[in-house]
Symmetry: C2
Subunit: 390 residues, 2 copies
């Protein structure tokens, strides 16, 4: 990966801020700068929502991080997180035609993060939260959703949930099981695990058992933080206790958003017939795909690009924001996320579905149109759009 370093150094960053308007003549200067620019300023002052007509706000998203949980690297801080946030910005542009700008905040205090984003929100039409560690990320997201009238989306949560849900939706078409009958076992109760759980419950999954490092999340546990306590209330129907091994025994689906190598061949073998294994720890999954297959898993996905069924957030966030911005949505709600999951699953025609092709390819150019349209419609149907005309 020396090549990655060299390429980053060659380009000195990945983003560029360019002008969309001509600036060749004195007249251009007088139209787009003084004195002409006073006109849109006055209009916005008079009619605040016209800011969407006269500025970049309607197509501009902030990629916000505090650098506290960057990739698998952990808490490396705001400055060291910049390459990831710039990367996210260029994916936004390439796969969603959304203009995105990195905001790396030099504080890890949730209230400070919330307040900073609030103070700089005027120029942005949406906020994508990124690589903020749990459970602080929940607090930051909830507060910002409360305060701001623009979409706020924590991609590590909801982007992951949408792609996992799409993969499960397609897998069920192959193995002919129903959501209601599924028993799902999830390893990892951070940002991604919590959001996958909520999404699958929304999709009607019968039972979900989550595990953190100490084992199964049950109402009997006395060491749970508030976020995990909430999860204990809505999952684990029979209040099972024990370890991840116990949770996986008889499960139809395993979702790993935790740590490398913690799932054994035996644990996969103990799952129900036609098991689905999405092992997404990165770069080393909870169990390697070939071993999971050998142990009897029917459908296997990971976060890696060198194995089939790559569960990659880039399949979701660009199109989700594109749809939300196009709809003039004031938030990204559960209906929009569920719509995104169904639309993403539908990007693979039923006839083409295979065990090793339940998740679309990130470079598939049909995704943007299909998913953004579904999100846009869901925003309108669920009534979270700004007043007409803006």
């Amino acid at each position: 990966m020396k090549e990655s370093l060299e390429q980053h150094k060659k380009y000195r960053g990945k983003i560029e801020v360019i002008t969309k308007v001509p600036l060749e003549t004195k007249k251009d200067l007088s139209l787009y700068y003084t004195p002409g620019v006073a006109q849109p300023c006055k209009e916005i002052h008079k009619t605040p929502l016209s800011v969407y007509d006269y500025t970049s706000k309607g197509h501009l998203v902030a990629v916000v991080s505090d650098g506290s949980a960057v990739l698998g690297l952990g808490n490396i801080g705001a400055s060291a997180a910049i390459p990831v946030m710039e990367g996210k910005c260029v994916l936004f542009k390439k796969f969603g035609n959304v203009d995105a700008f990195p905001i790396c905040i030099d504080s890890q205090d949730p209230d400070t993060i919330v307040n900073t984003v609030k103070l700089i929100a005027p120029v942005f039409g949406g906020i994508n939260l990124e690589d903020i560690s749990a459970p602080r990320c929940f607090e930051v997201e909830n507060q910002l959703k409360e305060i701001l009238d623009i979409p706020v989306f924590h991609d590590d949560q909801h982007g992951t949930a949408i792609v996992v849900a799409a993969g499960i939706l397609n897998s069920l078409k192959i193995i002919k099981k129903n959501m209601q009958d599924l028993k799902v076992s999830i390893s990892g109760v951070g940002a991604a695990g919590s959001a996958v759980t909520k999404m699958l419950l929304n999709l009607g999954v019968g039972d979900i058992i989550l595990c953190d490092r100490k084992g199964i999340i049950s109402k009997d546990r006395t060491d749970l933080n508030p976020a995990k306590k909430e999860i204990a209330e809505t999952t684990n129907k029979n209040n099972a206790t024990g370890t991840l091994k116990d949770a996986m025994c008889g499960a139809d689906v395993f979702v790993g958003v935790s740590a490398p190598g913690i799932v054994t061949e035996d644990m996969v073998s103990s799952m129900n017939k036609d098991a689905i294994v999405f092992a997404m720890a990165n770069p080393v999954p909870e169990i390697m795909p070939d071993i999971a297959k050998k142990a009897g898993a029917k459908i296997v996905g990971t976060g890696r690009s060198d194995y089939p069924n790559q569960i990659n957030n880039v399949l979701a966030f660009p199109a989700v924001f594109r749809g939300a911005l196009d709809a003039h949505a004031t938030e990204i709600n559960e209906e929009m996320k569920v719509a995104a999951a169904y639309a993403l699953a539908g990007c693979i025609p039923d006839a083409e579905l295979r065990e090793d092709y339940v998740i679309p390819d990130p470079l598939d150019k049909t995704i943007l149109g299909v998913v953004s349209e579904a999100v846009k419609n869901a925003a309108r149907d669920s009534g979270v759009v700004r007043e007409e005309g803006h």
Copy 2:
């Protein structure tokens, strides 16, 4: 100016954030996003200054405003200020090849502005403060210069001062007077007036008399704010008192950064022989150029593009930041500003200087190279550059 509104609506803002790197293949994704992007993150975590090698920081400037003093529109707030800040960003790109991004802060409390800029500073290589009202702008600038290790530049102050100084330098070549012998009268003691004063004192001007709405700034005044008190200490040698009319009587230079139409024909007639009148209130100057000429002024400049000698900040800020960023400067100091003024003046060869051509044309393509080089050299000579290699 309906056309300006229509154009702003047509383009929906003036900036676009694009990608500089190829994103066509899975390999591209793995180099510029996961897993490759982890490498520059780790490097920056280990060697903080390498952030300039692996990210956009070294060519990225924040255009920061609180919307408290926007153009001649006054305190219209953060949201209505966006068109001006986007305009500034596209001028940065067009005339300085500097990537700039608007940060409009939804607070007018100086400490809050300072703290917000500090918190989001990691991705930026420079801060351009814009349209923040005096005297709050001085506090914001001083605090940020103290805290941050990147250039901080309040364009309404220093950009104006550089261009005015360049105009006076060239005018003196025509009228054959020395800086030391000049008596300068300045109307307006806000951001621009204060900075022009400091710059002219640095250039060796003999005496400067400033006036605010209440008249001449003298040590006898008991109603001065701290910023004006400081100015009273370094100007008005003979502690004159009275009105603007008194201040202009016998003056060699008038600089207006105040209000439309406050200077009369008689006041210009009372000035010294070969008077220089830079009347920069916008869009209506302190006195219209033709009237000032008729009253005997030798050289007249305004902020307007429809008269000769347009004093336009775009002549300075793009090249000043380009030079500062190229030099890896940690600040923009007085030496760099003075160097910019001399270089900008020098963009008009002596043989081409005329009464109606003492300020270069904003579209003159030689300015960027000449001024940025001078700023870069001044940064190095005055020792305000980061350690070698970054």
